[in-house]
Structures are given as structure tokens and as C-alpha cells.
């Protein structure tokens, strides 16, 4: 008789709280954080080879679905995470900004690869020298292009941010001031 191996799958753990018979009490921030971080809907803004690596990340070998992010949203209104992957030319910059502005709060931005993060090898008149010139970025992934493992790590960093974010952060004057610095109302 073969022994059945214990499953290694870990499901999201309950946050710290007060537990008793028939109830569990924790703060709303933590419960919402767990829900948000495990159901991030990414909007892939893929313009070049980083987008190809992202396709591999989505596909079965690396399987982004394990992180609750298999549902790509091509509508900015329904997306939580803007993933910018590839060279952004200056002519494309207003389009990217419009997509960002159309996303509903809370929203996160992940900049994948050298081009999106800094312009990369394209130090030239026509290329935006990093998307952080026009919008706030939460996580940068280095590489040209980064491997899918790095993308998964970046997604996990975003998950940590989503988990630890307080519900009222987006209403704070600091957050508004930060957006205003980029010229976003």
C-alpha cells in the first residue's frame, strides 16, 4: 500500500486576529488586503519582447494563475495592476497615461524590463526614458528581458503591497500630492 503524500499546496493564511468558538475577528484592512492580493487583475500593456516573456509567464510552465492573476483585464476599468512591458515611445506616452487614469482605485503599476524602467538601450530622442516620468511605479523588474521567474517575483512584491495597504491610503492628502507631482488630478 502506497502512502499518500501530503499536499504541498499552501492556501492564503488567515491574518492575525481573535478567534473563538464560531467567530473570528480581525481588522477590515487585513481581510480586504488578502482578498485583493490574491485576485489581482493585470492589464498587460505589452509593446515588445518583454511582452513575449509575459506570455510565457501566463502559460502553463510558469502559470501566473497560481497567484490569482490569470484573469487579464483588457479594460482599464476592471484592472487592478498595470503591467508595462516594453519600450514606450514618447508618442505612446499620452496613451499609457490615459490607460492609467482610466483605472479605478486601488491600482498598482509594475514596470517590467529595462526599457519601461529607464528607456533601456534606447537613449534616443523618440523614446520615453522610463515610465516613471509620467506615472508612479510601484515595482520595477530589471532585465532585458527579465525571466518569467523575475516576473513572478515582481507580482509577489505587488501582492505584498496590496496586503499591507490600509484602506484609507488612497484618500490621504499625501497620495493626492504624489499623483499631482505627475500632473494627474
Amino acid at each position: 500500500m502506497s502512502s499518500i503524500e501530503k499536499s504541498k499546496i499552501e492556501i492564503a493564511k488567515a491574518p492575525p486576529g481573535i478567534e473563538g468558538a464560531g467567530f473570528f475577528a480581525t481588522s477590515l484592512d487585513k481581510a480586504v488586503g488578502i482578498a485583493r492580493s490574491n485576485s489581482l487583475w493585470p492589464l498587460p500593456f505589452a509593446t515588445s519582447c518583454c511582452g513575449i516573456e509575459f506570455m510565457a509567464t501566463m502559460a502553463s510552465t510558469y502559470d501566473l494563475a497560481r497567484f490569482g492573476s490569470e484573469r487579464l483585464s483588457f479594460s482599464p476599468r476592471q484592472a487592478d495592476l498595470l503591467m508595462v512591458m516594453g519600450t514606450i515611445s514618447k508618442k505612446l506616452a499620452p496613451v499609457l497615461l490615459q490607460v492609467y487614469e482610466q483605472m479605478a482605485e486601488p491600482k498598482w503599476v509594475l514596470s517590467m524590463g529595462a526599457c519601461a524602467s529607464s528607456g533601456g538601450i534606447f537613449d534616443t530622442y523618440s523614446v520615453l526614458q522610463g515610465i516613471d516620468r509620467i506615472l508612479p511605479v510601484d515595482v520595477y523588474i530589471p532585465g532585458c528581458p527579465p525571466r518569467p521567474e523575475q516576473v513572478l517575483d515582481g507580482i509577489m512584491q505587488i501582492q505584498k503591497l496590496a496586503q499591507s495597504e490600509t484602506i484609507r491610503r488612497r484618500d490621504s492628502p499625501e497620495y493626492t500630492a504624489m499623483l499631482n507631482k505627475y500632473g494627474i488630478e
Binding site: K91, G119, D123, Y125, S126
Partner: protein
Amino acid sequence: MDNNSLLTTIQSKLMSQFGNDFLSAELVADYPTFIIKKDRIADVIRFLYDDTELAFQYLTTLATIHYPDNQGQEFAVMYQLHNLPKNYRIRLKIFFSVNDLTVPSITSVFSAANWMERQEYDFFGIQFKDHPNLKRILNMDDMDYHPMRKEYALEDATREDKDDKMFGR
């Protein structure tokens, strides 16, 4: 017809038709190349299109070249024409000064020249006379210079984090 006889045939036709406005003919590598006065380029291309023997009815490409050290002839526009049935290829060139960037448009002969001429306007600031829609095509509309001119650096001017010594600027 080989390239040498193509060269002499076109040379004699252009000479009799355009006289002094036809400047020179030369075989560059294996490519018959003709230099024309700027103001007549549209007429020459129309003539080569309509000529029943030559019938250059396909515009392969059109490009601008900047020679900043060539005093009085800082810019050149180069046209490559093709006769598809007979497989003739020729090149036409015009030279002109940076102070007079007006060039006759050939959009009345080749509709394909529309976007090509817009590109040359975008990158070099060549003013194509009688072009139906001369505005930028590739760069963003609020760009205030013509970036392929050699007096402008290729690199992005807004970067402050790069050391000239290290990055070869």
C-alpha cells in the same frame, strides 16, 4: 538593356527634354544615377513615368540625406525608381541649400510619395510644395525640431544621470 546603355539612353532623353536642368549622369556601382535641378524634379519624374520605353511607374523609395559640411548644398533628396516589367532601376538626386528647403512634391505622380514626403518633413524639415497633407507622421506632434539633422544629438536631451565620459556623448 544593360545598365550602361540604360544610363546613356536616359541621359540623352533627359538632356534633350530638360537641357541645362539636367546636371549629370553617372554609374554608381551598378546603379544609374542622375542629378537634376531641384525645381524640375517633379517634371522629370512625370516624364520618366509617361515615357513609353522607360515607363518608370514604381517608386521604390525616397530619402533625404544631410551633408552639413557641404556648403550651399547641405541637403539632398534621393528618389529610386523602378520599371517592373523590364526590371530597370535608376536613382535621381537633387541637391539644395539649408536656406531653401522647398522641394516640388511628386504626390501628383506617385500617391505612395505622400507618406514618404511626410517622413522627410518630419525628420529633416523638407518643405514639399503642393503636398496635400504635410504634417509629422512618426514623431509626436509637439516635437519642435527635426531630429535626423546632424546638428542635433541622437540621445535624449532630458537625461541627467549619464556621465559624458562613460557613455560616449
